[in-house]
Symmetry: none
Subunit: 163 residues, 2 copies
């Protein structure tokens, strides 16, 4: 359609420039600008534009334009692949594993099952596992162990810092 792109741009501008909280409301604005359409089409337009609806203190709910937040969220999600493991960090000489909600204890159980000397013990919360290495076991010892015994699980490590 000839007008579609123009309409999509108009929708973006409207959403970007004011607080709009329902499709009906937006529809009326568009009508005033000379665009005739139904709410169903608007729903599809918003989907196409990836416009999100978000709770807002003042207005109840407002439409917001997509931005980097979304990309961040999605890549973050994409990284969470296997068996519920999300990330691996090291701090205080220990390893901290983040998992999907509820997955911590089962993964910790698997790790316990390795029966590795290097690991003195594990503690699992709901989505976090703490691995406590034996005294004298270094971080790289632990990484090596996990690399060998649980291939594919290691992708990331923490940065160091002083504050």
């Amino acid at each position: 359609m000839k007008n579609r792109n123009e309409r999509l741009m108009k929708i973006r501008r409207l959403i970007g420039s004011m607080n709009i909280s329902s499709q009906e409301e937006l529809l009326k604005l568009l009508e005033k600008q000379g665009y005739e359409m139904t709410q169903a089409t608007l729903s599809r337009d918003l989907k196409y534009l990836k416009v999100a609806k978000m709770p807002d203190n003042s207005a109840g709910y407002v439409y917001i334009l997509p931005n980097i937040e979304q990309a961040v969220e999605e890549t973050e999600l994409a990284n969470r692949g296997l068996t519920g493991l999300i990330s691996l960090d090291f701090a205080q000489g220990m390893a901290i594993l983040r998992t999907l909600p509820g997955h911590a204890s089962s993964i910790a159980y698997t790790i316990d099952g390795l029966d590795a000397y290097e690991i003195a013990g594990t503690i699992a919360g709901d989505d976090t596992i703490l691995i406590i290495p034996r005294d004298g076991v270094t971080r790289s010892d632990l990484v090596n162990l996990l690399k060998i015994r649980m291939p594919g699980l290691i992708q990331e490590s923490s940065g160091s810092l002083k504050n």
Copy 2:
């Protein structure tokens, strides 16, 4: 309410870790985790958490957590969920918080909500929270962080505190 904070935390984590595209779907996940509630309450929770629903290529629509507005919400977070804190101690380079029975997870949730670099992770039991600082973060770094970000939590930088 007793379970509310914990539930909010669970909701946040579920949304952050997987693609959820309707409240019904989320509701079922929560039920599996032992939370009984109606869709109406969930709708209110999502509004409170400022969770947005956004079109997504793969899943149709997905809920996403607020990011930038979080700064605003952080203060909000910091101002709630602090009741029940009993003491703060340091050992083995880590902080150990004692709370009233059952309060650990909600307070840990608040701390997680700070999303502070200094904190590598937390693990909450029933009445104990372990805060694992990142390497290089000193005890006073941690105390300062908590003083600034969670005013009212810390009265004195040593040993226990009153509440």
